[in-house]
């Protein structure tokens, strides 16, 4: 039995396969969340308010669900060894979907409690700056899409696990500067955050363009893999390239829109308050 999805030299079948490592990984994520909320809440949660909002629990659960879907059979199995298009879906889930949900699911007091632990505060503040987050996201996304890296690591469970975790790390690093509690952990202000997320859309264009416009399959692993559903390797690769931009970018654009409207609402509220203050001053 395999513990993590990796490329396998056998024809694809729709027979379910168990990957206990994936379950353990998801269980650890959920367990850590429950432990943090229960163990740290008495000492760190603000008195008189909820320990966690139901929406935050839902976000975290959706984040864990996204990781579970990306890692387990069939998406994980197909993406790690058969179809590059599913490999890209995995990357989207690992780097763009799950991290913001997981980060949003953790209440601010829990982040502050973690930041109070030795070493963590410096680490979290360091990655709340835009450059480290962006660079780590770029590095993991480019590095794990190099043909040699994919062809070398994907056939091994540990290598495949390393790729998946690198995506998750890159995704967490990308999203942390726009989600970290402000001001103590240094979250970006709204307009810089929009520019930051826009910058995150640029570099994925490189692998996406190579995949979309190459005349030959780039990855030996996916080219020589047993075919699934009669999809040709080049067709699959082009789909992967398109998915990376056509699905990946809108996620970032959605986040940019949310931040923009939040900024607009804040500005409007500030204007309204200012007008109200002026009116009050005139009346008095």
């Amino acid at each position: 039995m395999n513990w993590w999805c990796s490329a396998r030299d056998v024809a694809w079948t729709w027979t379910w396969q168990a990957y206990p490592g994936v379950w353990l990984f998801v269980a650890v994520l959920l367990g850590w969340y429950a432990w943090g909320l229960r163990r740290l809440a008495p000492a760190h949660a603000p008195a008189g308010s909820r320990v966690v909002r139901p929406a935050q629990v839902a976000w975290y659960a959706y984040g864990a669900l996204a990781l579970w879907i990306a890692s387990d059979w069939p998406v994980g199995a197909l993406g790690s060894g058969y179809l590059l298009s599913l490999h890209t879906v995995q990357w989207i889930l690992y780097a763009l979907v799950a991290p913001p949900l997981l980060l949003l699911g953790v209440p601010a007091w829990l982040w502050r409690a973690l930041a109070a632990r030795p070493g963590w505060g410096r680490f979290l503040r360091f990655f709340a700056r835009p450059l480290p987050g962006l660079l780590l996201f770029y590095a993991t996304m480019l590095g794990t899409h190099l043909p040699r890296v994919v062809d070398t690591l994907r056939p091994w469970q540990l290598g495949s696990f390393a790729i998946d975790m690198a995506w998750l790390a890159g995704g967490l690093a990308l999203w942390w500067p726009v989600i970290a509690p402000r001001p103590d952990l240094g979250r970006l202000r709204d307009l810089p955050a929009i520019g930051y997320l826009f910058a995150a859309t640029i570099v994925p264009t490189i692998p996406a363009a190579f995949m979309t416009f190459s005349n030959a399959p780039l990855y030996g692993l996916y080219e020589l893999a047993p075919r699934v559903g009669g999809i040709a390797a080049l067709e699959d690769q082009r789909t992967a390239g398109l998915l990376m931009k056509a699905v990946g970018d809108p996620i970032l654009w959605l986040a940019m829109s949310v931040i923009f409207f939040r900024w607009a609402r804040t500005e409007q509220a500030a204007d309204a308050r200012e007008r109200e203050a002026r009116r009050a001053a005139r009346l008095s």
Binding site: A11, W12, R117, P118, G119, W120, F123, D151, T152, L153, P155, W156, L158, G159, F161, A162, M165, A166, N215, A216, P217, G220, L221, E223, L224, A225, P226, R227, G230, A232, A233, L234
Partner: protein, 335 residues
């Protein structure tokens, strides 16, 4: 950095270091221990007609592969690789390449199934089928173990174990390389270009002309009667490769064919050859009692002292025109 993060980084480093080493199959052909001649066989093509392998592919770069259309792994990958590489060639070079797919699963691979499957790769790929006995014998002909049908599963589906390599016959109709599974599209393309290359003949050897050996210009023979004559040119190929004479014609005759005279059970038997290999270096001498060009339906009687023009079509050299003197039958016939 906290201890947990340090542990994670160490785990990642361990993962990366533990996962290097075993590369994917490397591209590149496998040299055959001995050159493999292009054995002849006849199977049924997807249009239902008999298809003679050697004749139909003579002088063309030919890739021969045994597989089946339900194959989940090797066959579609090998065909896709070849198709992509062929697509990259210039149209004139594409015509010099033949890809022949022989099914190892005749029960499921009907002509229509074969054709539809091959068409997704290249409409010019040839699909062949036959009886199981015929297919087994063709595989043995090329030194391959016959394919084995595995036990069907509960749904009736089954796999077929078969040779995974593609045998490549060069333009000299000889195979020196086989390509095991693992060739990538980027590996196939340079291989095709390499295999298609025909060395330029030395300038002194162009144009191809009958060599002056026993009969310097070759000769034609005036028949004693009737409308059938014969011609005996001497052909020296200037190439380092085996060329093939594939057609001949003459304004003096309605048809020109290569015939070979053989002794069978004490009797001389004449057989028509559709393609005649021209060996490199050694001149090919056509002689009475051996290989000759049969001029059928002479349009006028040949007279000693006349000249007969014959146009020969070679696979590699292209068309060449020879003019042969006509000799009297009595000067040529053995005493």
């Amino acid at each position: 950095m906290p201890a947990t993060l340090r542990s994670s980084a160490a785990l990642l480093a361990l993962a990366l270091s533990a996962c290097v080493g075993e590369p994917l199959p490397a591209g590149g052909g496998m040299e055959l221990p001995t050159a493999l001649p292009k054995h002849d066989f006849t199977l049924t093509a997807t249009d239902g007609r008999p298809w003679r392998f050697r004749e139909a592919t003579a002088g063309r770069l030919t890739f021969l592969f045994f597989g089946y259309t339900s194959c989940p792994d090797v066959c579609p990958v090998q065909m896709a690789g070849l198709a992509a590489a062929v697509r990259e060639l210039a149209p004139e070079d594409q015509r010099r390449v033949a890809v022949v797919f022989v099914t190892t699963d005749p029960a499921r691979d009907s002509a229509a199934v074969l054709r539809a499957w091959l068409d997704q790769f290249n409409r010019d790929f040839v699909g062949l089928t036959g009886t199981e006995a015929e297919l087994d014998s063709v595989q043995r002909l090329f030194g391959l173990a016959p394919a084995v049908r595995e036990t069907p599963g509960p749904d009736g589906a089954y796999l077929v174990g078969h040779a995974a390599q593609v045998i490549a016959f060069g333009v000299d109709d000889t195979a020196r390389t086989a390509y095991p599974f693992g060739q990538r599209q980027t590996d196939w393309a340079p291989e095709l270009r390499r295999l298609l290359q025909v060395p330029e003949p030395p300038a002194a050897a162009v144009p191809l002309a009958p060599a002056r050996v026993a009969f310097p210009e070759g000769f034609a023979v005036a028949p004693l009667g009737g409308r059938t004559g014969a011609a005996y040119p001497v052909i020296r190929s200037s190439l380092a490769l085996v060329d093939t004479l594939v057609a001949a014609s003459s304004p003096a005759a309605e048809s020109v064919h290569v015939h070979r005279t053989e002794r069978v059970d004490g009797l001389l038997v004449m057989r028509r050859e559709d393609a005649l290999p021209i060996p490199p270096g050694t001149p090919l001498r056509m002689e009475p009692g051996g290989t000759h060009l049969m001029l059928g339906g002479l349009v006028r009687p040949l007279q000693p002292g006349d000249t007969v023009e014959i146009r020969l079509q070679f696979r590699l050299h292209g068309a060449r025109t020879l003019r042969l003197p006509v000799r009297a039958y009595s000067d040529v016939a053995a005493p």
